[in-house]
């Protein structure tokens, strides 16, 4: 084994480009491992752990590009190194050869696009705050996709923005839809009169897609980033967004999506919605419904319920219609669960949920709790569930958030790159205790453009692995998206069904089905 590398000083590429080149190069013949990263402290630590940190890399700085290859022979290593360089160059020349000049700075961009009103920022967190402040000072609203922005910076940005009447969506805000335009990871949904404020990105996607699929539509969907509703930030932007929707004549119904906000923030939200003539549907996953009712909000237990409630209200119906719809489906789900569970082999006892959306992992845990399934572990546990000893190894019922840092450092998000999840599906299939594999598939801009191509072979392989052991696996999937999304929800659902998966209309429904299967297996 040989490790070779080189430093390219002053070369800068965005992290996704680097990860894609790194992944492609790693897949080349004779390569054991490869890395193409900027020379930050964190990246150097990753290289060190992978045995790719060459001595000359130690003095490299964060504006230096590091290329390292571990290969079977020095010749291969050199060849692959040259190949990596060439691939990066081709990325650069592609963007360089475009006729349109790409400004190199925010200031240059403002000249190129006079009247710009939103800055979408997704550079590394340690730089993102500065760029966001520039945008706010220039009077632009900001969507901050970047994570790892320091908390103090977030508070500073949001306080400044509030003073100027501007929005700061994020940091770590994955999705928003403003004036019908999907920003970052978002879906192509219908326009309408439901407005959303969300401190949970996948939650926003799920609610907006179900609304759209229920023939309701969206006025605005404002993301705030998960930290906004914590005590330190005080819900600054959640409240600003909420006020804007309450004042917005195009918004008739408001949906609030979040994990439970801090008590002090919840109080402020309550005060803001008090006396609102517009109905306020709140899905604060895990919060007490009673408290919300006291503030005059309509509490929903799941994202799906919130979307159905809002859709009914938007269409002039009432809340009861949504409840009835869910109750009807519940019976069908239970019957299906019994049918599927009874066909599993003896010893297949557990559900394994592999989620790409953190909100979905939480929602599934709440569903399991509601149905009284207690033997559940997670890498992002909701009390009383306990943490897995090792996130890489499932035990009993396991619900895993593959978007957690432990899985995403140095690689694209699992909504983009399915390779980690596909490997994990195979691992679960090898475990004789696995009865059901629960998956979320998130479509829309920014996500993987062809999830069926990634998942279908993995499901088939998993099935045959189980069959060789005399077992039968159940696959339960939800697909978050719309038929108008670039991937087309209907096409994806068909593809997954063809690969042997049961496809449910929401994450909550898939989780309920899985929990019913778990219930049946426990009773066996």
């Amino acid at each position: 084994m040989t490790v070779k590398g080189l430093i390219k000083s002053g070369e800068y590429f965005d992290s996704v480009t680097l990860m894609i080149v790194g992944r492609d190069v790693t897949a080349l013949k004779g390569v054991q491992d490869a890395a193409v990263v900027m020379g930050t402290q964190e990246n150097k630590a990753i290289l060190k752990a992978a045995g790719l940190l060459l001595p000359e890399f130690e003095k490299a700085g964060e504006t230096d590009l590091l290329l390292a290859v571990k290969a079977e022979s020095p010749e291969t290593a050199s060849k692959v190194l040259a190949e990596s360089e060439a691939r990066l160059l081709s990325v650069r020349s592609r963007s360089d050869s475009e006729e349109e000049y790409r400004p190199k700075s925010f200031e240059g961009a403002l000249k190129a696009l006079p009247g710009a009103n939103v800055a979408l920022i997704s550079i590394a967190g340690r730089y993102a705050g500065e760029e966001a402040m520039k945008a706010l000072k220039a009077g632009l609203h900001v969507m901050l996709f970047s994570d790892n922005v320091p908390l103090e910076k977030e508070v500073e940005l949001k306080e400044f923005a509030r003073g100027k009447g501007l929005l700061v969506m994020g940091p770590d805000c994955g999705t928003a839809i403003i004036n019908g335009v999907p920003l970052a990871f978002a879906n192509q949904v219908s326009r309408g009169d439901v407005g959303i404020v969300a401190a949970a990105g996948t939650g926003l996607q799920e609610v907006s897609c179900i609304l759209s699929n229920e023939s309701a539509g969206l006025s605005q969907a404002i993301g705030t980033g998960g930290r906004d509703v914590k005590k330190e930030v005080g819900g600054i932007m959640f409240l600003e967004g909420l006020k804007a929707l309450l004042e917005d004549p195009a918004t008739k119904v408001v949906v609030l999506v979040s994990k439970p906000p801090h008590e002090s923030v919840l109080k402020k939200i309550g005060a803001a919605v008090k006396d609102s003539p517009k109905p306020i549907v709140a899905v604060f996953l895990g919060a007490e419904g009673k408290t919300l009712s006291r503030y005059g909000m309509l509490p929903a237990g799941t994202l799906e319920e919130a979307a159905l409630l809002a859709a009914a209200l938007s269409k002039g119906g009432d809340a009861k219609a949504a409840g009835k719809k869910l109750a009807d489906r519940e019976r069908a789900l239970s019957e299906l669960a019994v049918k599927e569970a009874s066909q599993t082999a003896k010893g297949q006892r557990y559900v394994r949920g592999l989620f790409s959306g953190g909100t979905f992992c939480s929602e599934a845990q709440l569903v399991f709790q509601e149905l009284g399934i207690s033997d559940v572990l997670s890498n992002a546990p909701l009390a009383p569930f306990k943490a897995l000893a090792d996130a890489l190894k499932s035990e009993r019922h396991t619900l895993i958030d593959l978007g957690e840092d432990a899985f995403t450092v140095g690689r694209p998000h699992p909504m983009i790159d399915y390779s980690l999840r596909c490997r994990r599906i195979q691992a679960e299939a090898q475990d004789p205790e696995t009865a059901l594999i629960l998956l979320d598939v998130v479509l829309g801009y920014g996500s993987n453009m062809d999830p069926v191509r990634e998942l279908a072979p993995a499901l088939r392989d998993a099935r045959s692995t189980a069959e060789q052991g005399g077992r039968r696996l159940v696959f339960a999937c939800s697909v978050t998206g719309t038929p108008e999304d670039p991937q087309d929800k209907d096409k994806v659902s068909e593809g997954l069904k063809a690969a042997g998966a049961l496809v449910f209309p929401s994450n909550a429904a898939a989780a309920r089905f899985a929990a019913r299967v778990a219930e049946y297996l426990e009773g066996e």
Partner: protein, 479 residues
């Protein structure tokens, strides 16, 4: 724009980061612009804060400084011998390109130039003798820039060399440059020996008086309008001077014929100019020097008035920081090398010619000279992009120097050190590459990004000048 107004507006998005987001935005029909973002340069946090705090004052100072640059009106008004003409020139002084450098730290080509000059001056009989003299301490070295002069590559000016005199007719200051010797084995690339000495002698004995008489007859030659015309003819007057040299030739020829008593000499002089496409370079440099020197000494200004390299260090001076040099190691250009040569043969970047870029010409106006990009292995759109990039670090556009391919947009002028550091965009310089051994000559050409260090130091220097007691700063014209 308040949030409720945003809801009523057409979305226009600046995307900083993942390019795929821009593609999505375009697909959903929103207007957007993708920023080709890069991390800012690491600079002293205190300096950044001080400069940010003084932003309004700096803007004011820059407006003043850039006006001085834009109104500059350089003209060739005469010639003289360095010793009698250049301020501070003495018998034992040799001027060189770039920031100050000792004999010990001088690179090969510059040492070669010094040796050649000492041989030419008759101060030594052999190269060895010249080297010994140069190292003895009896010869003093000083940057051209500290004497109102500029010189390409090694930039050697010795006492008996004739020099052009360029006057900034608007602000009254003067600048000086030697005559360009042509290509091949020449002093500015560090060549020395009988052949070089002979050419320099001919230039002093025949070229100089002939040109001096012709210029005297003409009274003045307007360099500003000549440069403006050359930009319309495919020059950027740094690495391409073919058009400008032709224009100069047209202006000089009748006057030479009328004033030169010897028609054979007149023909030789005209042939010499005709045979050297770079003859105008030294004039475009002196014109730039005369223009920028007028903008020196504006307290608080963050505009760059000098970028120069001595083959060891790259130096920068700001309008607001007086005569202080901010330096860092000069980079070895990633150039296109002539057959038989590689980067290993190259000397680090050298010459005062980056004064043209400092004045918005050269690499900054390369969109006017797409032929150069081809010469260094690029394509015409690259030239446009290079120039567009330079608008992001400059304070103004020079209406007199227009770029046809950008719809006659003015050249990006007035490099703002704050923008350079904040955006991580470095001045692009058209450059010739010298062999690291003296006398070999040019081995390549390329387009080079200035190094970060001098600009980062200059920003700190500016911050220091802001906090210093406000004293009346005299205009330090190099006259």
């Amino acid at each position: 724009m308040a949030i409720k107004d945003l809801f009523k507006s057409k979305l226009k998005v600046v995307n900083i980061g993942l390019a795929s987001f821009t593609e999505s935005l375009e697909r959903s029909g929103a207007q957007s612009v993708q920023v080709d973002w890069r991390p800012p340069v690491k600079a002293d946090a205190g300096a950044l804060a001080a400069v940010e705090a003084a932003a309004a004052d700096i803007e004011k100072a820059n407006a003043k400084a850039v006006k001085l640059i834009l109104t500059g009106k350089p003209a060739l008004v005469g010639m003289g011998v360095a010793l009698d003409t250049i301020p501070g020139m003495t018998h034992d002084l040799i001027l060189h390109a770039g920031p100050p450098v000792t004999w010990e730290r001088m690179c090969g080509p510059m040492r070669g130039g010094v040796i050649g000059a000492l041989l030419y001056e008759g101060r030594a009989k052999t190269p060895e003798e010249a080297e010994k003299l140069a190292a003895s301490g009896k010869i003093r070295f000083s940057p051209c820039h500290e004497h109102g002069a500029v010189g390409p590559m090694a930039g050697i000016v010795s006492p008996s060399m004739p020099v052009f005199i360029v006057k900034n007719e608007e602000h009254g200051n003067l600048a000086y440059a030697t005559m360009n010797e042509g290509l091949g084995k020449v002093l500015r690339y560090g060549a020395f020996g009988p052949e070089i000495t002979k050419r320099l002698k001919w230039m002093a004995d025949e070229l100089y008086p002939t040109l001096a008489a012709a210029i005297a007859k003409l009274g003045r030659i307007d360099l500003k309008s000549m440069i403006a015309q050359a930009l319309h003819m495919g020059d950027e007057v740094h690495n391409r001077n073919r058009a400008a040299t032709s224009l100069l030739f047209r202006a000089l020829a009748p006057a030479i014929v009328r004033t030169c008593p010897d028609s054979e000499r007149a023909a030789k002089v005209l042939e010499f100019i005709h045979g050297n496409d770079h003859f105008f370079l030294n004039l475009s440099m002196a014109a730039s020097k005369a223009t920028l020197d007028a903008a020196r000494g504006v307290a608080g200004s963050s505009l760059v008035v000098v970028m120069a390299r001595n083959g060891t260090d790259f130096g920068v001076q700001l309008s607001g920081t007086g005569g202080e040099w901010f330096t860092g190691p000069a980079p070895v250009p990633d150039a296109l090398y002539f057959p038989g040569f590689t980067k290993a043969d190259a000397n680090p970047d050298i010459g005062d010619s980056a004064i043209t870029e400092t004045n918005g010409l050269g690499g900054f106006s390369i969109a006017a000279a797409p032929a150069i990009v081809q010469f260094v292995g690029g394509q015409a759109p690259d030239a446009l992009r290079y120039t567009k990039q330079m608008y992001e670090i400059t304070a103004a556009e020079n209406g007199a120097y227009q770029i046809p391919s950008l719809n006659f947009r003015g050249a990006p002028t007035g490099i703002d050190v704050r923008k350079v550091v904040a955006k991580g965009i470095f001045p692009l310089i058209d450059t010739g590459v010298a062999h690291k051994e003296p006398g070999v000559g040019q081995v390549g050409a390329g387009i080079l990004s200035a190094p970060a260090e001098p600009f980062v130091k200059a920003l700190s220097g500016l911050a220091g000048s802001l906090s210093a007691k406000p004293k009346k700063q005299k205009k330090t014209l190099s006259v």
